[in-house]
Each structure stands twice: as C-alpha cells, then as structure tokens.
C-alpha cells in the first residue's frame, strides 16, 4: 500500500498525480473464501479489516450490492460519542470512541476525527435528572463527561439561545472527547487498508440467497454467481431483515427512514455538536461549512431512503428554535437512510440460528459512531465464534431471554 502523507502528496504533485495506486482493487470473486462479509459499509469493511489484521485470515471477501460506503455510512450525520446510559452500551461505544482517536493513523487515511465535544441538552426537570444520572453513571464507569449549567453552556456555545422562551435549556451533558468524523473517509479508509491486507472488495454484487447444508452456511448466491465460504458475516443495516429472511430466520428489527439535511456552506459558526432529545433535533457544522441537521426517525416502517417532510421540518424547527441566527440560512440538501431498530434500541452482534452465519445489525439511529468498535468486536465474534468481551450482552438470544439493554432514552433523538 502506498503510504499517504504530506511528503507522498508533494512527491506525486511533481509527477502530476499520475502514479497514485488504486485505493482498492476491483477483483473478480473467487470460488471460495474463508469469510464472506455481506455489506461494504464502515462496519462491514472494518470487520474485514480486523479479521485480516487481528485474526490472520487472508481469504476474505466483502460483497456490496451497490457502491461501497453507500448505505448508512454515507448518509449519517457523523456524530461520535460514548456517553450511553447502560454499562453494556457504554463499554462498547467507548471502545469505539477510543479507536476513533487513532483510526486515521491505523488505516493511513484521514478520517478527520474531530473531538470537538458533544452537548446533550435538557429542557425540563425530568430531562435534567436523566442527564445528570447519565453523567454520573458515565463517570462511575470511567467514561469522560461532565454536567454543564446554563451559564456554562452559554460560555461553551455562545451562538445558542439558552434562555429560549419555550423549553429553555436547563443543563447539558458535555463529552469533550466526543465529536464528529468524515463519514465517507471511514469506508474508504477501511476499504483501502483491508484491500492492502488482501481482502477482496466486490461491489455491484447482490446476495440473493444462502447455501445452507445441515444447518450450516456453505456460501452465498449472488448476482455474480455462487461463492463458497466457511463463514458468512452479515452487516446489512437497514436490510438486515431482508437477508435474515433469505437465510430462513427472523429478526426483531424494524427498518425505518431516518432523515438528515445540510445547509449551504458557511464560515465557521458552530464549534461543537448540539443534540436535544426533548425537541428532537441536533446540529453540527461540517469542515466544509455546512450545518448538518438531523432528528428522530420516521414513525413508519419502510425501505425507501426517503422520509416524511413533517419529521424533517420538526428537526429543522428545533435547530431554528435554539439558534435564531440560523433561521435565515437555507437547506441545501436533505436525504434519508434506512435504520434498523431493535426493540431495546441496542445493537445485535450475534451468531444466528444458522451455524457459521453471523449478523451485525440493530445499530438503529446511532451506528456511525460505533463503526470501529462494532467492526473490531464483530471480527472477534466471527473469528472465534464467541462474543468479544465488550459485546457479550448484544447477542440475539437476549430477546428470547429478556436480558435486553434498553437505550431508548439515548435513542430518543437519532444519535
């Protein structure tokens, strides 16, 4: 793999940039792989990368029905934080957050992790108690975070209208080590690093069936022919239930549209990430200068990457309420993704009823931030057949056993 650096950039500048290698190859699928990962988003590509890097597997393929990074990896609002309420979630998201810190160096691709701080606002007493509780719980488990009073918030985010007439901001949690990253770069960085370790990334290859013999998965049927595999790892986000159905089992997953939007680009005017669960909106500013705005998921299930306008209007209203100076700005583009939501709003990293077939889904509205942790833990599960210590509670059997990990409070606003 060519090393990316300022020096290599200068070197290639003098050669007219004609000699850059491909970031990843475009190979024909082989007949057989040790592991096939289905879904070339950040989680899937990361899984392949860690399988190769940590578990010594060499014959790995990632199959993608469209273009890599084109699902929720490329359509989220890039927020990264780990201040979840429950211990199990906190552990997994904190693993992910700590990996973010050095991900650019790990994959030699600038994913632009920007720990600019994330504020979760509260607007009433009930909210306030919940946030205070979460901060204390985080501190008890060693996750960085603090509680801010309205005066402290004003100092931290002078642009925000803290004492707004309705639903004034009464307090907030602030995780300074949380922030944002460049979403496409995560997929591309993992793709390039995985490719360099010999992983075959095969785009435009839809899985439309599984070869299952004696309860064991033997491979997949695809639009580019049958491919054999010892193990198959599904990382299909919004289409998890579709693939599970093809493999003959059902998932407790609802797929719903989640929308987001950006404004036209502006000179820097907001330096942190602001989230409000009570009024369903959040906002940050991208490095390009666009305000990135989102809110809650649509109420109705669907696989279309489009949502209802009133839901989006609600998110915009929340941001306009908190930032009167943003009201005159304009929406440039809105879009939707399909999020996979489990009954307890927590992820699923699990074996399945089919032997050697594993699934990673259920990240709902908050999957982007988990990318490196999810990939690392899932690679561990796929390689060893047993869950990663930080992801033990996230298997499918929790829905049968009732040992659910409730994160609805964290998911009230798309996170």
């Amino acid at each position: 793999m060519q090393k990316y650096s300022a020096i290599s950039l200068a070197y290639h500048a003098f050669r007219g940039h004609r000699h850059w290698q491909r970031a990843w190859r475009s190979p024909e699928p082989r007949q057989h792989y040790d592991v096939i990962v289905v879904g070339a988003g950040g989680h899937g590509l990361g899984t392949a990368y860690y399988l190769a890097k940590h578990h010594g597997l060499r014959k790995i393929a990632v199959l993608e029905r469209g273009w890599l990074g084109g699902g929720n990896t490329g359509r989220n609002t890039t927020i990264i934080r780990s201040n979840y309420l429950q211990d199990e979630s906190g552990g997994l998201y904190e693993l992910a957050r700590s990996l973010w810190e050095t991900l650019s160096q790990e994959v030699n691709y600038n994913v632009m992790f920007s720990p600019r701080g994330v504020l979760n606002l509260c607007h009433d007493e009930h909210d306030l108690k919940g946030v205070q509780r979460r901060v204390l719980a985080n501190q008890a488990s060693g996750i960085e975070g603090e509680f801010l009073t309205p005066a402290q918030i004003k100092k931290e985010v002078p642009e925000m209208h803290v004492a707004c007439p309705r639903l004034p901001v009464l307090g907030a949690s602030l995780q300074r080590t949380a922030g944002t990253a460049r979403h496409d770069a995560v997929a591309w960085g993992y793709a390039r690093a995985a490719d360099a370790l010999g992983v075959d990334i095969i785009e435009q290859c839809t899985v439309n069936g599984f070869r299952i013999e004696g309860g064991k998965v033997r491979g997949v049927e695809t639009t580019r022919g049958a491919i054999e595999a010892d193990k198959v790892a599904l990382v299909p986000a919004g289409h998890a239930s579709v693939l599970a159905n093809l493999a003959g089992f059902r998932l407790p997953i609802e797929s719903r549209p989640l929308q987001a939007l950006v404004s036209e680009p502006l000179k820097p005017c907001l330096n942190t990430v602001i989230m409000s669960g009570a009024i369903h909106g959040y906002v940050s500013q991208s490095d390009k200068g666009e305000l990135v705005i989102g809110g809650g998921a649509d109420a109705y299930n669907g696989y279309a990457q489009r949502g209802s306008p009133h839901v989006l209007a609600g998110s915009i209203g929340a941001v306009c309420h908190l930032f009167p100076q943003f009201r005159r700005l304009r929406m440039l583009r809105s879009w939707g993704g399909v999020v996979d939501i489990a009954p307890d709003a927590s992820a699923i990293l699990s074996p399945t009823p089919v032997e050697n077939l594993f699934i990673n889904c259920g990240w709902g509205t908050g999957g982007f931030k988990a990318t490196p942790g999810s990939a690392l833990a899932f690679a561990h599960l796929v390689a060893n057949g047993s869950p990663h210590p930080k992801a033990e509670g996230f298997t499918l059997n929790r829905f049968a056993s009732g040992l659910i990990i409730d994160e609805h409070s964290a998911a009230a606003v798309a996170h």
């Binding site: 003098f14 008890a140 960085g189 915009i316 100076q325 304009r330 659910i404």
Partner: protein
C-alpha cells in the same frame, strides 16, 4: 436622472426604466431599474467579477441568469437580515439593496487565499484524506481549524432573524410547476375545467424562456402578447391560483408537494416588519404537470471559469430580458444548435458577436447562413483550448480539435471580453426524480430524461427534452387537459425555437495547460475526475464524493452531466451505465425557518395551562414544566424557599387536609361494546368483571413486558370507561391504544376520545378531606356508602362532577373531576370550607414526596426501559388468568431473574441527608470505575419520618432488604440501608380518614 449604465441597451427588455433604483455593491453605489436582478444591474455596469470560488479562490463572474448560478454568490442585507450565499441572478433589485461579495479576504480584488490556486498541484481532489494525519492530535487542534476557516462561503449573520414565516396547507386537483409557455398552456387547459389548479413559478415574472427570446409567435400572435393574454385569462379563473416567486422544491409521497413562496423581496422586509417573509405550502395535488424547462450546460476547457464567461442562453437573456450587453465583443462557443439561436438573438439585440466556435465539423443550416451574413466568423471543428485573463476575460485560444476533443496545434488567439458557451441542455427532472423516477440518457438530444413519469405526473416541454416551442406548448396543453379529463385545445401557428439540438458528444476540450472546471463552485476539474477514477473511485457516487463534483450550492445543475460525460469517456462506459447521482430535495436552497413556520420561540410546543393556573398564580405558586404543561410546583408563603414550602404542604396533608390541581392528568374516554375487552387486553389486571361505579389502578406494558404507563380506570357504564394516564404520557398512550385498535384488533368496536382538557381535576387528600368536601356535595361520602376505589357522579358546589375515591398520598383522598369552568369556584369553596382545618393547596413536589413515603411509583421516574411490574413489586397487579400486551415478554426467564434491578427503599445513615436523584449505587468505596448496581430514582426529606429517604432501582434489590449499599454523592460513598419501598402506613389504615 443618472446616466444610463454603459452596457445597458438603449431599449427593450422586461424592465421598467421609469423606476431607477439605487443599490450598493461592496460599498459602491450603483443604479439599476425595477425588473433587474442584482446580476443584470451589475452587468449593466460592466461588472462581471463578483465572487471567489470555494477551493482555489479564483475570481468568478456571473455565469448564468437563473437559479443554477454556481459563481455569483453574494451576501445581501444588513444585521439580522443579512443573508449569505444568495445568487445574484435570483435577487430582484430593490431600492437600497445592500450586497457584498463573500469568501474573499481581505477584499474581492485581492484575496489572500487565492494562493491556493498556485498551490493547486498539492491540492488535488481528496488531498485532505492523504495528509494532515501526523501528529494525531494536530488534526483537531491545528489542521482542522485552518481548513474550516478557508472553507465555507458566506457568513451567518450572527444575529437573530427578525422576520417571520408561515405555513399553509392546501389542496389542488392539478399542480403545474413552471410558468413558461408549456406550464401556462397546461394551467390554462386544466383551469377551464373549473377544477382547482395551482401554477407555481420560481421567477417573479411568468414566461420562462419566452422572456429571453424575441420574434416568437404563439397562436398567431407575438409571444409577448400571448403571454399577457394567458396571464389575464388565468387571473380571471377563480379556480386557478397563480403563485409567482414560488419554488416547488420537493415532491413527496402521495401527491405531497413542498412549495416555498417568497412574499418579500430582499431588502424590502423592513417595509412591513410584521408580515411574513416567506410562506411554505404543503400542497396535496394528486396530478401534476412538470413544466420546469431545461438548463443549459457549460463547456469544459481550460480557464472556462473566468469572469466574462456565461452560458449562451444567459447572455441572450441578459440582452433580451434585461437589455444588458454581456460585453463589447462576444464570442460564442457551442457544440449544438442552440448556441446559434443565442448568437442570433444577441446580434438582434445589438450585441457584437465576433465568432462562433463549434466543435462540430460541419455545422450547417439556415442559422449558420444567417450568422455568416451578419459577418460572424464560424470556426467549425474547433474548440476553445484555453481562455486567458484573471479578473476578466481578454483572449481565447481557438484551436482545431480531433474526434476526442483534444486540441490540436494551430488555431488563432482572438480577443474578446465576453464568451457565451453552450454545451447542450439538461431537462430539469428533479421533481420526478425525488419520487424515484428512473432516468435514462437520450442520445438524440444529449440529455437525461425521465424514462417513466411517476403516477399522476406529466412531464412536458423542456423538462421532457421537447425543446421546440410548438411542441412544448402542445404538450403542456395536452397534459393540462388530460389531468382534468378534458381534451386538449388546439393551438394555431406557433413559431419559435426549434427542437433538434444536434448536440455533439464533445463537451470537454482537452488541452495541455490550465484548469478545465467541471464543477465551477467547488473547483473540481476534469483532471480531478480522472484522478478519482485512477484511484479506484469509479462509481459516479464515489467520483462525486471524492471530488465534490455536484455537491456545491447548485447541487450539480451545471456540473453533473458534464461530469458523467467525462467519466463515461474515461471509463469507456455508456452514459446509462455510469448513471446519475440521486436527486434530492430541495430543488433550490430553501430557508430553514420556513420549515419551522411559527412554531418557534413562544410557539414551539406551546405552553399548556390548566383552568386553575391563574388561581395558582394569585397564590404565588412556582411552576414546573411537565411535558407541555405548566404545573404548580409548590405554593411558597412569604419568606419560604421550596424546601420549606414542600415540608409545610406535605405535613398539612398528613395531619389535616390539602388539595392539588390534577387537571393535567391524561384522560381518555373509552367507549363501545368491546371497551371492557379492549382494556382487558392492554392493562395487566382484569377489567371484564369490574362493575360500573368501580375504579381500578392499572398498569400498561409494552410488548417487551416493561412498564409503559399507569393510571386509574373507572367504569362509567357497561360500554363506557374513563381512564387516566400520566401527565407526560397522555399523547403517547392515546397513540399506542389507537395503534392496537387500528392495526391489530380491527374487529373490536371501541372508540377513544381524549378528554384531558374537557375535565379539570382536583385531588383532595388528608384525614379531614371528607369533612371539607361533604358540605359541598350531594354525594354521601361515608366510608361505607362511598368506599375506596369507587367513583360517584353528582354535584360539587352546584357543578356536575365525578368524584373518584382514590389516593396517591396514602391518605383519605377524593379526586374531583368537573367542567373546566367550575374548577376555580370549587377550589375557592374548598379553601373556604377547609379554612377551619387549615386546608393547604400543594404542588407537584409535595405530591411526589407524599406518594414516595407511601411507596407509590411515578411511571417514568422510578422505572427505566427494562423495568417490569415484578421489579417494582407490582406483580400482584398482573393477572395470571388472562393474556395482555406484554405478558409474554414479561414471562421470559431474564425478566424474572433475581439479579435484576428492582425497586427498593433507601435510608441514608445520615438522617439529614437527601440523596440526589440519579446518583449511582454500588458496593464499597465507589472509586471509579466501579460496577454500577443501580441508581436513586426518587429522594426527599420527609416531614413525617423526619429524615431523608429515597427509592432506587438496585440489582437483586428484593432480596437485599436490611443490607447496606453505597450511593455516590459528590464523589463520596454514602452508606444507605436497604428497606422495602414503603415508609408509612403499610396496612393502609390512613386511607379511611377520620369520621369514617
């Protein structure tokens, strides 16, 4: 009268020369006419250079005459009305308009960041992914702030927007988008049916391309006269609403459209400060005619971005609509016939056209002949290999090209000050594409068109690549008529633009030097596209994202098709295989506040107050927001703080009597022959055998088996119940019940009605409650006559009332429900008859304290998402005989494990201490990190127990009564005794009250 600006033509144009307007551009005072855009007024003064590009900060001019403008972005207005990133081409000139350039520092003429242009070899597409990685911490601290400062375009005002916005919902049978010839014909044809028709046009003038051309006739009369006639006739139709200044920015599912109507032009908002600035329409229209026209494409060649380069049709628009010359010496560069149309149009308007450069080897036809007759030189088979200039254009290198568009040796250098380019036309197919319409490449007209229009939509005119005027009008009329089930009117002779473009596949002149821009605003070049593909970013979506092509504020209106052509050429793939990127709403940038409308500030989730609100205010109550409600929190007397007020109020209830405003309780009437059966399914306890006149406390679970809400169910009659919910849960519960009724149990005959606001409620509690209330009511309140958990209907203070004998304090209690109008007089009468018992109004805080002493939970506070009734010690309320929502979930093994978090009482060893709510519980010293075993859910100082007490959820809590656990308070471990969550009167003696 000021002298006419230098480039203003002496006559013509759709401008009003009698209205001279003064405006300011970057501090310079200039003049224009009513009907000008900011762009046309600037061009009239010969000002082309108005902006800087995003990445290289290159000088940029006015490239177009419409919403597709990528370059001429300006900031307009002052203070809170300052609006960045507006296209000078869509800003109507108004008196006193203040516009300034943006994205340039220290000035437009001398911009330090234009050094980026010379550093460009080091800044190819995606350079930032390859560097700024070392040392790791520097990205956020050093590199990112630098990049952020140089990126962005205009600045947010930094001040609150003083204007207001409104929203309107409407319905029309037919929506016509686009007020050009095709759209007018469609609206006219549809309107004659008498059905409701809405016609929207983003411009302030109707007419579309008719405004930019001359010499056209429709129905035998000059196009301008036809246009006036159509406007007159449409205005006369009551059923037709014509909305100029309105953009249809999005098409949503089920015939829903987003329209943004601009009611005030920039710079005129302060004239009527209370009138809304913009109005957002959510329009339902099952049928639509998409007459959105087409947008001309640029040509890609070196330095194609210099100020002075414009689209050919835009140059013609400036000449014909605004009577402005694009320059003194214009050259036209085209690869299709429309360049000739524009050239002729310019000549007719009095503009000198020196030459036409045409990529096609053998242009022919009448137009070429006419141009030759006008003395225009035609360069067939040539391209512009490079433009020269910096702040303005001064020369063009015109070179012969080969079949691949590669510039050959030879050619000429020609001077000019304006270049008009045409690289073909792109139909505006955004709206059908929002609805997922498949698009395909049309080789004949060299553009993407919609392969199959979504149901209910007809695409006509330029939007359907029908570029001939006659065809556009006829298609519009036909679509408009068929949308209302009529037959199309026949039009007389139409003479105008011809349809066939004969567009060459060459739109990219490959030269050796200079930057050939594809996306003008984001500065992505043909070279960048090639680099992306070389590096493996091959999918058009990857090319877009890696090079940022099509991601600028024009969203690729100019760039995308050229980018796809170049990708198609480099990869050797047909256009359809390269494909397009997704079209997303909005069509053009749309004001954020317009989405919010009035639901901001005081009107965001508007405050709800109870009928007793003002009464509480007069008593000096402090209020707390609960959901949207404002609830009386406590009633401090002079000198009292919250703590002392709550202690007094709570003690009064325990010792004598008090009452609170319970009007915010969610209330739902459940009616129908299956009402009992329905409630029996959604509550954990049995409802079937409950007699009329009885009340029951019930729990609702979700499918997981965890607590969803709680409340009291009262049976009014066999087929009629009245249920209460938590204050915050009322909307959620109603929606949940409707969900079950409407999607799962459609066979049940049950109707739900929210009656929260129809019934005010007072909760009267305390041992003297009966004594206070009995004189005010005709209902016998005797313990035997009116036992606990019953309800009665009768009169209270002469008003019709329902009284529930329930208690949330552990004391004798009556919940009095009455008409909202009666609430204040009942409260006043209670105060009067209760005076001898020192009756005390109490607020929500005392209510919380009193119920906690008794161990009653508050749903939403003492539980979390995984808490079951069993965890709360409420398994007695869960029937084992019937099925109900959540039963299966709650019966899973994990839901019954001993080590679950269960509700316990907590008594801090330090009796004066009140544990903060939310603090974690654990074993021992609690030095982080430590395993969290639970948390404190409710905590108060009890005036009765004379000590602090709390409830909490604790792992294995039910089995730990008597043990000690630590709570983390301000970093220290505070020991607490674990006790059953019931601190007072476990046998319920007090519920009888005195004089039973």
């Amino acid at each position: 009268m000021k002298a006419v600006a230098k480039y203003r033509l002496p006559s013509g144009g759709h401008i009003d020369r009698s209205q001279l307007l003064q405006f300011s551009w970057g501090g310079r005072t200039l003049h224009g006419f009513h009907g000008d855009t900011l762009a046309s007024a600037l061009l009239a003064h010969g000002i082309h250079f108005v902006g800087r590009s995003f990445k290289y900060h290159r000088p940029r001019g006015i490239y177009t005459a419409g919403v597709e403008e990528p370059n001429a972005l300006v900031t307009v207005g002052r203070n809170g009305r300052m609006t960045p990133n507006l296209r000078a081409t869509e800003v109507l000139l108004t008196e006193g308009l203040n516009a300034v350039p943006q994205n340039a520092w220290p000035s437009l003429d001398f911009d330090l960041l234009s050094v980026n242009n010379f550093l460009s070899p080091f800044l190819p597409a995606g350079f930032y992914y390859k560097t700024f990685m070392s040392p790791a911490a520097w990205w956020h601290k050093r590199y990112e702030p630098m990049i952020r400062r140089s990126a962005g375009l205009g600045c947010a005002s930094g001040q609150a927007d003083p204007d207001s916005y409104e929203r309107r919902y409407a319905y029309a049978e037919v929506l016509v988008v686009g007020g050009g010839a095709a759209g007018l014909a469609a609206a006219h044809a549809a309107g004659q049916s008498g059905k409701r028709v809405v016609l929207v046009e983003q411009d302030w003038l109707l007419g579309g391309s008719l405004l930019a051309r001359t010499g056209e006739t429709i129905d035998g009369e000059p196009a301008r006269a036809w246009l006036a006639k159509m406007q007159r006739e449409l205005a006369a139709m009551d059923n037709v609403q014509v909305l100029p200044n309105t953009t249809c920015f999005a098409a949503y599912e089920h015939g829903m459209w987003g329209l943004l109507e601009r009611l005030r032009h920039h710079g005129t908002e302060q004239d009527k400060p209370n009138a809304p600035r913009q109005r957002m329409w959510w329009l339902r229209a099952p049928r639509s005619v998409i007459a959105t026209g087409a947008i001309e494409r640029p040509m890609v060649f070196a330095n194609n971005d210099l100020p002075g380069v414009t689209l050919a049709s835009s140059a013609a628009t400036y000449a014909n609509r605004f009577a402005v010359k694009p320059g003194d010496r214009t050259i036209v560069f085209t690869n299709n016939n429309s360049g000739y149309v524009s050239a002729l149009s310019l000549i007719e308007a009095g503009v000198e056209v020196k030459a036409i450069v045409d990529t096609r080897p053998a242009p022919s036809g009448a137009m070429a002949q006419r141009l030759l007759e006008c003395g225009v030189t035609i360069f067939p088979g040539h391209g512009i290999s490079r433009a020269r200039g910096w702040h303005d254009l001064h020369h063009l290198r015109i070179a012969p090209i080969d079949e691949e568009g590669v510039a050959q040796r030879g050619g000429v250098l020609m001077s000019c000050d304006s270049l008009a380019v045409s690289g073909g036309w792109s139909p505006v197919i955004h709206l059908p594409s929002h609805q997922g319409a498949k698009v395909q490449w049309n080789e004949e007209q060299a553009c993407f068109i919609v392969a199959e229009a979504p149901a209910g939509m007809a695409i006509v005119g330029g939007a359907a690549a029908s570029f001939a005027l006659a065809q556009a009008v006829q298609e519009g009329a036909t679509a408009g008529a068929s949308a209302v089930g009529a037959t199309a009117p026949a039009y007389g002779a139409i003479h105008g633009a011809e349809g066939a473009l004969d567009c060459d596949s060459i739109a990219w002149i490959k030269g050796k030097r200079g930057k050939a821009f594809v996306d003008l605003q984001n500065d992505s070049t043909a070279k960048d596209l090639a680099l992306a593909i070389r590096e493996g970013y091959e999918s058009i979506e990857h090319v877009k994202r890696y090079t940022t092509t099509g991601m600028a504020t024009d969203q690729g209106k100019l760039a995308n098709v050229n980018a796809i052509r170049i990708v198609s050429k480099i990869r050797g793939l047909p256009m359809n295989e390269v494909g397009v990127t997704t079209f997303r709403a909005p069509y053009t940038p749309t004001t954020l506040a317009a989405f919010a409308g009035r639901e901001l500030d005081d009107f965001l989730q508007p405050e709800r107050i109870t009928p007793l609100h003002d009464w509480s205010v007069t008593l000096g109550a402090a209020f707390e927001p609960v959901g949207q409600w404002m609830r009386a929190w406590y009633y401090p007397k002079a000198g009292e703080d919250m703590h002392r007020a709550v202690q007094r109020e709570s003690a009064a209830v325990r010792e004598s009597v008090g009452f609170m405003d319970a009007s915010t309780l969610g209330k739902i009437e459940v009616r129908g022959k299956d009402a009992a059966e329905f409630l029996n399914r959604v509550y954990t306890n049995g409802m079937l055998k409950m007699p009329a006149g009885a009340c029951r406390y019930g729990l609702m679970l979700n499918e997981e088996g965890t607590l969803f809400d709680d409340g009291v169910i009262s049976r009014l009659a066999d087929d009629r119940f009245f249920i209460s919910t938590t204050t915050g849960g009322a909307p959620r519960v109603l929606a949940w019940l409707e969900l079950w009724l409407q999607t799962e149990w459609t066979d049940l005959e049950v109707w739900l009605t929210s009656i929260t606001e129809q019934w005010a409620a007072l909760a009267l509690n305390g041992p003297k409650a009966r004594k206070v209330l009995q004189p005010l009511t005709d209902i016998d309140l005797g313990h035997e006559a009116f036992p606990y958990m019953r309800f009665r209907e009768g009169q209270v203070c002469g008003a019709k009332a329902r009284i529930l004998r329930v208690s949330f304090t552990g004391e004798l209690g009556y919940e009095i429900h009455m008409a909202p109008e009666a609430a204040v007089s009942v409260a006043e009468d209670l105060m009067e008859t209760g005076a001898e018992y020192k009756i005390t109004p109490y607020g929500t805080e005392s209510m919380h304290l009193l119920r906690a002493e008794k161990g009653f939970i508050i749903a939403g506070q003492d539980n979390e998402g995984t808490t079951t009734p069993d965890d709360l010690g409420l398994s007695g309320l869960c029937s084992t005989k019937k099925d109900y929502v959540g039963r299966r979930g709650a019966e899973r093994a994990g839901m019954r494990r001993e080590d679950r978090k269960q509700l316990v009482g907590l008594l801090p060893e330090n009796e004066t201490l009140v544990l903060p709510e939310g603090v974690p519980l654990g074993a021992g010293e609690l030095t982080p990190p430590f395993p969290i075993l639970g948390h404190v859910t409710s905590s108060y100082m009890s005036p009765t127990l004379k000590r602090g007490f709390a409830m909490g959820l604790l792992r294995r809590g039910h089995k730990r009564h008597g043990e000690t656990i630590s709570a983390l308070v301000k970093g220290a471990a505070v020991p607490c005794k674990i006790v059953p969550p019931m601190f007072l009167d476990p046998d319920g003696e007090r519920l009888r009250g005195e004089d039973a």
